[in-house]
Structures are given as structure tokens and as C-alpha cells.
């Protein structure tokens, strides 16, 4: 992201995407087994990946 703006909403773009992904992941394993479980693991496990990525690359 090279273009910096002071629009407050921009800070929410990534968190909202993550929240929606979390909800899809949470509901997915509830709907079915097999592939639905895998989707759930990927989406919720992805949250941990995002944290690891941020800690590895976004430290200043």
C-alpha cells in the first residue's frame, strides 16, 4: 500500500476481512465434515498465520 490517506475506514479493511473469514471458518465446520473442516482449519489457522506474518515483517 503506497497511497496513504487519513481515511479512518482504511484501518478497518483488513480487520473486517479477517472477521468475515473467521465467521465463515467457524460456521463451515458446523455445516459438514471433510472439506468443510478443512476450510475451517485454513481460515481460522490463517488468523495465526496473519499474526506470524505481521510479527515477522511489520516490526519497526
Amino acid at each position: 500500500m503506497s497511497r496513504r490517506t487519513n481515511w479512518t475506514g482504511r484501518a478497518y479493511v483488513v480487520p473486517v476481512i479477517l472477521a468475515v473469514a473467521s465467521l465463515v471458518g467457524l460456521i463451515s465446520a458446523l455445516i459438514g465434515d471433510g472439506i468443510f473442516n478443512v476450510i475451517s482449519w485454513l481460515l481460522l489457522g490463517g488468523l495465526l498465520g496473519v499474526i506470524a506474518w505481521a510479527l515477522a515483517t511489520r516490526r519497526t
Partner: protein, 386 residues
């Protein structure tokens, strides 16, 4: 956002967090082993490895199993009987009174096909039960449960208010920025924001479903008193049925026939608070991941052995049943449990860092913090406040 509005959100975040943090830390710490309840029980022998039934073997008559359980605890009455989803075993809960609460229950676990009594520790003893009580009612029953439910609601309010002040604070910073080079407070503030916002959706769902779960026994009691009473209205004037009751083996067989495609999960005896004073409640469930959560009682008259009704659970009890897996994390295999545990650990860091930020706040007033949020995350000294 107006400075005054921002200050309100900041104060909401601060106080809702402070009021619930210590209890939330307790809930996160005790919740961690509870995620692996089943696995730990296997390791400790609380869920024994059981030999598979011989091909063609028939399950032992349930009346025999109940009699066998009662022989272990003379003077007790049967309360519940149920099947293990993963092993050919039947458990029978007994107690001195029909309404004996779980802490005083006795349990006998038997092989469903041989009738052998299995050497299993009582569910209401030991470390895991201690942890469960800490997590669910602080050893004081319903008031403790409702108290923890209120803390869970405050936690949800803290998450929402944290989300509101996150945006203005982060508007000049890239997502995920953690400024480690400056003060320790700034580093932990950035970490608190990052970890909190990434786990927001998960934490909100686990917190709110936890709060919903605390209403389980009041909702169950209300259902029994109101809706269930309609089905058993004709029994209202009758005296408490005399023992021995009609065959439970036949009751279960009839319930199976009355609810095709469903399997019995457990049976409640009259007086336990699950099926009125005159009925067995044979709770059947489906086989799909959703259907397996949605229990449905088949009411069997304990005097005549006839099926009285198969009431549909009301929507709020269905919602409750469906919210349970979302709180426990036990519905997507071991990988999901491990992810659940890691997210729980992240939440502990969020709670701990939040507490640290409050303890390390120094003499800065709320106005300084609000200015910091509104500046877009730049540390502010008190003198910079306009």
C-alpha cells in the same frame, strides 16, 4: 469522530475490560485444558479403551444394565442413562434423590454388549472436574454461572469498543505495525491492537456463545415448566408415578421407532428436570454435524410405557444447542481444537497486555489517551493536548 464520542468509547473499552479481565484470564486458562477434555480423559483412563463387540452381538437389555448400576450404589435411584458416541459403552447416573445435582451423582459405565462394569473414575471428581467447575460456575452453582455469563457480555462489549477505537488509532499506520524500537508501552499497545483485532471475530463468537451457554439451565427449566407441561397436561393431577417404572429398554426401542432416522443419545428419568414427573425423556439426535447437536425428546410414560409425545424443541433451546460447539471448539476434529487452543493463548496475551497497558499508564489522563488515538497512533505527551 468527535473527541467527546471518542472519549466515551475509550472509557467504555477501559472499564468493561478492567471489570472482566481477571475473570476472563481465569476462563481462558481453565478453558485451555477443557478444549482437550476428551483427549485428556483418554490419556487418564477416564474414557477407557473398550473392546469392540463380537460380530452379531446384541446389546444387553438396558433394564439389566440399570439394575446392575443400582447394585453398585444401593439406595440410589437412576437419573440418566446414555451412550458414548465413540465407544460401545452405556453410562448410568444414579443419585439419592430423583433431582440429585451433578456434583452428588454416581456414575457406572458398562460395556453395552457384555455388561461388564468398566473401571472408570467418577466424572465429578478429579482435576478436570475441578477445572470445569472453575470455568462454569466457580463452585457456587447457577449464581456463579450467571456471574461468569455477565463477565462474558462485558468481554464482548470490550471487544466492540476496542474495535471502535482501533480505526482512528491505526489510520496512519499499516495494518500489523508493531513499533518495537520505542517505548515498551508502545510496543505492547501495538501488539494488543494487532492480536486483538485479528482474533476479534473468533473471540466475539466464543464470548457470546459462552454467555448464551450460561442460560442453559434456566432455559431448560422454563421449557420444562411451560412448553413441556402442555404435552404432559393430562398428567398434571396424577400422583407421582410409583416405582418400578415401565421397561426402559422398551421405552428406548419405542422411541427409536417414533423418531426414524434418529439415534438415542441419552435418557432422562422423571424428576431430573429434563422430562417432567411422569416421563422418560429419550433424547434422540440426527447423524449430520448439525443434526447431531439438535436433540429432541421422545416422552415415554413411565407408568404405561406408551410414547406420549415427541415435542419439537423451541428455537431458543435449538440456538443454545447450536451455540455450544461454537464455544467448545469440539466440532472440527483435532486440528480445530489445536487452533482453538492457540487462539485462546493469543487472547490471554491480549488480556495480559491490556492489563499491562493500564498498569503502565503512568499519570497520563484519559484525555491524553484519547488524543493519542485521534492523532492516528502517535504517542502524545500531556502538554500537546489542545
Amino acid at each position: 469522530m468527535q473527541r467527546s464520542t471518542m472519549k466515551t468509547w475509550f472509557l467504555v473499552h477501559k472499564w468493561t475490560s478492567l471489570v472482566c479481565t481477571l475473570f476472563l484470564l481465569l476462563l481462558c486458562l481453565t478453558g485451555l485444558p477443557l478444549i482437550f477434555y476428551e483427549e485428556i480423559n483418554h490419556l487418564t483412563g477416564a474414557e477407557p479403551e473398550v473392546s469392540a463387540p463380537q460380530p452379531g452381538a446384541k446389546p444387553i437389555n438396558l433394564d439389566v444394565l440399570v439394575a446392575q448400576a443400582l447394585a453398585q450404589y444401593p439406595g440410589d435411584v437412576p437419573l440418566f442413562l446414555g451412550w458414548d458416541d465413540h465407544a460401545p459403552t452405556v453410562y448410568v447416573n444414579t443419585g439419592a434423590q430423583p433431582d440429585t445435582p451433578p456434583p452428588q451423582m454416581h456414575t457406572v459405565v458398562m460395556h453395552a454388549y457384555t455388561g461388564e462394569v468398566l473401571p472408570v473414575p467418577q466424572f465429578n471428581e478429579g482435576v478436570m472436574y475441578f477445572i470445569l467447575r472453575l470455568h462454569t460456575d466457580l463452585f457456587v452453582g447457577l449464581p456463579g454461572t450467571l456471574f461468569l455469563g455477565a463477565k462474558a457480555l462485558l468481554f464482548a462489549a470490550a471487544i466492540v469498543s476496542g474495535f471502535v477505537i482501533y480505526g482512528p488509532f491505526m489510520r496512519k499506520l499499516e495494518f500489523g505495525t508493531v513499533r518495537t524500537g520505542r517505548s515498551s508501552r508502545l510496543k505492547w499497545l501495538d501488539l494488543h491492537n494487532l492480536l486483538g483485532v485479528v482474533t476479534l471475530g473468533w473471540a466475539l463468537v466464543v464470548g457470546l456463545t459462552g454467555a448464551i451457554n450460561t442460560l442453559a439451565s434456566p432455559l431448560q427449566a422454563a421449557w420444562q415448566k411451560n412448553e413441556l407441561a402442555e404435552f404432559t397436561a393430562a398428567y398434571h393431577a396424577r400422583p407421582t408415578p410409583a416405582r418400578p417404572f415401565a421397561s426402559i429398554d422398551k421405552a428406548v426401542a419405542d422411541a427409536r421407532a417414533a423418531a426414524p432416522g434418529m439415534t438415542p443419545a441419552y435418557v432422562s428419568y422423571p424428576g431430573t428436570g429434563y422430562s417432567g414427573e411422569h416421563h422418560y425423556g429419550v433424547f434422540v439426535h440426527g447423524a449430520t454435524p448439525l443434526g447431531e447437536r439438535l436433540y429432541r425428546p421422545v416422552l415415554v410414560d413411565v407408568a404405561t410405557g406408551a410414547v406420549t409425545a415427541t415435542p419439537e424443541l423451541p428455537w431458543h433451546l435449538k440456538a443454545l444447542l447450536l451455540s455450544q460447539p461454537l464455544h467448545f471448539g469440539d466440532y472440527g476434529g483435532l486440528p480445530l481444537k489445536i487452533i482453538w487452543a492457540l487462539l485462546d493463548l493469543v487472547t490471554i496475551v491480549v488480556l495480559g497486555s491490556g492489563l499491562y497497558l493500564w498498569l503502565a499508564r503512568g499519570r497520563a489522563s484519559a484525555d491524553v489517551r484519547v488524543a493519542e488515538i485521534q492523532s492516528g497512533g502517535l504517542p502524545i505527551a500531556a502538554r500537546d493536548i489542545p
